[in-house]
Symmetry: C2
Subunit: 266 residues, 2 copies
Amino acid sequence: MDRPISRKSFFKNAAKYGAGAVAGVAGVNILTSKKSSAETSTYPWPYSKLDTEEVRIVAHDAYYKMGCCYAGFVGLIIPLQKKIGEPYTSFPIEMMSYGGGGIKGWGTICGTLNGASAAVSLTTGRKESGKIIHELMNWYSQSMLPSDESYAYHKDGKYEVRKEFGELSKSISNSPLCHPSVTRWCNESGFTIESPQQLERCARISGDVAVKTAELLNSHIDNTFQSTFTMSESTGECLSCHGKEQEVGNALSRMECAPCHGDPHK
Amino acid sequence: MDRPISRKSFFKNAAKYGAGAVAGVAGVNILTSKKSSAETSTYPWPYSKLDTEEVRIVAHDAYYKMGCCYAGFVGLIIPLQKKIGEPYTSFPIEMMSYGGGGIKGWGTICGTLNGASAAVSLTTGRKESGKIIHELMNWYSQSMLPSDESYAYHKDGKYEVRKEFGELSKSISNSPLCHPSVTRWCNESGFTIESPQQLERCARISGDVAVKTAELLNSHIDNTFQSTFTMSESTGECLSCHGKEQEVGNALSRMECAPCHGDPHK
C-alpha cells in the first residue's frame, strides 16, 4: 500500500501545545513549600563545552556500573555536574539505567543512543535537539564501531581498565536498534553475547557515542553545527516509491528499510 | 549460526558495579554549595498508589502537549508531583519529549513505553523495575489497542477533548517498536500517518500505557504483582532451535522474531 506520509504536521501540531505543559508544571510547583534549584531552572538546562576525553572516560567507566543507556547519559551529565553544578547535581541519573540492552534487554533502541538523546534534549531543548539527534542516529547507523579512537584511548590514555582486550572487531549496525547492532558485531567478531569482549565492545561504543554527542553539542553552542549524514542509498530507492516529503527515513521511521524488510526486488 | 546466549551474566556483571556510581555522584555533590531536595533523595524515589483515571487524563492531555514519550512519563510523574511534591517537582519533565515517534520520528521504541519505563525505573529502582517493564512491554505487544476503556473514558469521563473521533480501529502491534505499531494501525484503520485520527489513536494509547503502568506499580507496592505475559507461540518455536536460557525473547532481544525476520520455515 502506497500512502503519502508526512511527519511535519505531527511535529507542527505537537509544538503548538508545548507552552501549556510548562505552565502546568509551574502550577504544580506552587503546591510545594520548598523550591530547589532544579525547580527554578528553565528547560533546556545550560550547556558548557565539554572535554571529549573526559566524556569518553566517564561513559566507558559508567557502562560497567549501570549499562549502556546510563553511560550514554552520564557521559555528558556527570561532566556537566562538575562544570556547572546545579541543576545537574539534582538529576536522579540512576533512572537512566532502565535503557540497558535496548530497555531491559528487549533489544529496541541502543541504550547509548537513548541516553545520549535524553542528554541532548535536556541541554538543547525540544526544538533544537531534533537535528542533533538525527545526526547522531545516522552517524551511529552508518559508522564502523567501536572506533579506532576508543582503542587508542585505552592504549595510551589515562584510563586503562580492560585494555587487555586490545583491538576489537568493528561492524556497521545499519540500524539504531540494539538487537541488530549487537548481533552484527557478534557475527563479525565471532564472540558470543555474554562474552567479556562483547561487553567491552559496548563499553567502547558508549564512549564513542558520548564523545560524538559532546562534539555535536560543542558545535551547536559554537553555531558551527552542520548536518552531514543522510539516508542510505538503498533506503533512498525504497522511498522513491514508498515515501514522500521526508528528508531522511520512511513512514514514521527514519531507520533504514532493508535490515528488517529486506530487498523486495531481489 | 546457532550460539548459546544468556543475558543473565550481563546483568550480574553490571549489578556488581552499581554502588560505585552512586558514590561518584555523591562526590560531585560535595563540589556544589547548595543542596536541593532531589540531591538528597535516594534512587528510587518514593511511590504512592495512583488513581488510574487521573493518570489517563494527564497522559492523554500530555500527548497533545509534547508527544508520546512525554505523555508516558508524566502520566505517572505529574500525579506524583501532586501527591508527593519534592523531589518530583524538581524533575525536568520536558526532557522526555525527545522520545516522540520512537525518538524524534525514528520509529524505534514506542515513546509511551520509553517514557513509562523511565518512570518505572525512577519509582522502583534498577532491580525491581525489570519485571514490571517486561510485563508492560509484553502486554503492549500482544494487546488490541487503543482499549475500550480509552474510548469509554472519552465518552463518559470528565475530560472530553477529541471525543468527536468516537471509537477508533484497534490493532495488535506484535512489537514494542513505534514503526510497526503505527504502521499496523494505519493499515487496519485506513487512516494515514499524519491524520488527526492517528494522533488521537496514539494519545489514547498514551493513556492506556500510563494506566497499565500505574496498575503494575500499584500492585508492586501492594506486593500483589504477578507476571502474566510470556513470549508468543511463534517466538517459542524460534527459540526451540536458536535461543537458550531466556524466559522471554531471543538473542539480546525479548521482541518477537517474526515481525522483522519472517518465518524461515515458510
